[in-house]
Symmetry: C2
Subunit: 383 residues, 2 copies
Amino acid sequence: MMTLNDLETPCLILDRRRLEANVARMSARARALGVDLRPHMKTAKSADVARLATAGQSGAITVSTLREADYFLDHGFRDITYGVGIAPAKLDRVAALQARGGRVRVVTDSAEVARAVSERAAALGQTFEVLIEVDTGDGRAGVAPESEALIEIGRILAAAAGTTLAGVLTHAGHSYGCRRIEDIVAVAEAERAGAVRAAERLRGAGLPCPVVSVGSTPTALHARTLDGVSEMRPGVYMFQDVFQAAIGSCAVDDIAISVLATVTSHHRERGEILIDAGGLALSKDRSTAESPRDVGYGLVVDVKCENFDTELHVIRVSQEHGIVAAPDGGPVPFESLAPGTRVRVLPNHACFTAAAYDRYHVIDGGSPAADDVIAVWPRVNGW
Amino acid sequence: MMTLNDLETPCLILDRRRLEANVARMSARARALGVDLRPHMKTAKSADVARLATAGQSGAITVSTLREADYFLDHGFRDITYGVGIAPAKLDRVAALQARGGRVRVVTDSAEVARAVSERAAALGQTFEVLIEVDTGDGRAGVAPESEALIEIGRILAAAAGTTLAGVLTHAGHSYGCRRIEDIVAVAEAERAGAVRAAERLRGAGLPCPVVSVGSTPTALHARTLDGVSEMRPGVYMFQDVFQAAIGSCAVDDIAISVLATVTSHHRERGEILIDAGGLALSKDRSTAESPRDVGYGLVVDVKCENFDTELHVIRVSQEHGIVAAPDGGPVPFESLAPGTRVRVLPNHACFTAAAYDRYHVIDGGSPAADDVIAVWPRVNGW
């Protein structure tokens, strides 16, 4: 049996016990809220993880790339929402997925794109199911629930022979800006209310709106009610990360992925330790920078995922170097971290850190044999 | 023939003409300075690029991962310096490379690691060539040229049966902090003088020091002299990027890679355009943030790589969304950027942006058929 001490570093470790607990918690949330769970596979990009995340459910998923859609269809996931605004040139690939038995819903917030989708559907002799993206406060994509554009896009999609208006979809990405649970609760209610209002306006205009889809890990975990919503699409909850812990989505002990790294040298004069996990291995995501807990490029724990006496952060990175130090210039446990020692780095943002790897080394964290690598699960990266 | 308008987006475009010009410029610099060029393949990670970068030279290269070493050895590159401080557990893999005919130099700045290397060499019955990393002002890795540690490590490596002291190596990463050419000239001289001083001290102690290796694109381009230096190891010069342009290493028109992306919708009320290249496609590197030219997550040009009338930046990203706007709230040319339109994004930091892709789509930029994809070149990512 391979153990954490046999693996080449840097590599990506996935703690199955933590993953299973995170997945169970979100499944229970969805049941309690009375909505379907359509987990977003953008973080995990793994059929093995998707099987756990959809256990006991319909098997519906959300994806962030058409390569994910391809891969998950290959692995038996047929009900797929591609959650990023569709570019018309991508419809041929969507049509190919449908020809292979997939039911692939696409998303737009543009009347121009809605027209292009209906034209392309006619040219291809296909039908595309389209969700209208609604902006419930995030300010990234989506039309306002009260906008004329919502009804205009709805009418285009409902009228064309080759398109079906599947409903509305929103993403409360601005929940990531919250620093208190009560603020997340408020964002979750704005997300719900905005999506439901958009659905009501479409229905009021005589248009169908079966799907009312919301999603973000913080709002899914803290919404008081999802009345009027049909499904939610959280993703990062499966793994969690230091940023999610900082904003109250989880505890640090819930974080299921980490980067295994090796100490390469000491710079005692600067209170710094070099490890072989740098900006590519950890990502350059700095989302904790503005959070209540800035851990630089990652929180450093020992190979058993336990804290050192002094909290250690990756304070700087270059491509393949990580510089580890105590954030406040505290004492660095050089003796526990001789060159060759293995450490684990808990990521700022799981979606970005995981994207550097083509596989997970899976362990059964917390078990008596927690160092054993019990499986290797592939990931699907790219586009 | 596939063209830029046929490719699925986002994808990575490499302009061969610009690459060839950048490579020729650095080769001429090395010749003029009288040093060998051992190009760092950490940016390109491509045998096709490496063949251009080593044309007319010995074929020696630098790599940043052992996976690169493996790959380049497979492609006939036998003289390889692995430029990141070696972790002793990686020596078995280095030994395997040597057994396959590679000459793989490793690097350390740690007496403890030097001892571990000599012990592992004895256990494996192998000889490892080791360079001592010297810190000439960067503050990342390396011992000081005047340090006791330099001589201590040298003696360990020279005395052990299984190790050869190959010389000294430094990287003036702090040249990236310069904002004026004269400052880069000064860093280049400090890099040269520090490396040469370390070599002289080793030689003065009766130790060999055949290799005196320096490297960074800014210092390689601006050093007045490299007297006493044997080789240089720049890497990002092959592609360049907006950051390198901002600090005077190149012009924006020299940047050889870009991300091809598609407009997915307009948000006129905010002066924003959404494209399908987000934080994974562009990387979250923000190295231009502190530079004279902050372009957010990338500089947006048209599909022919020409500027729009208004300068456009990717001002925000999420995983698969890029938000494009004029940096000072200037007019956005929505009419030129209808949904479906293709754009190219010049990266902040080529090494990080390229790392998201497994291949280059190569074009002959500036030619009458500059839209044609003339080749697809693979990349080797991961560890």
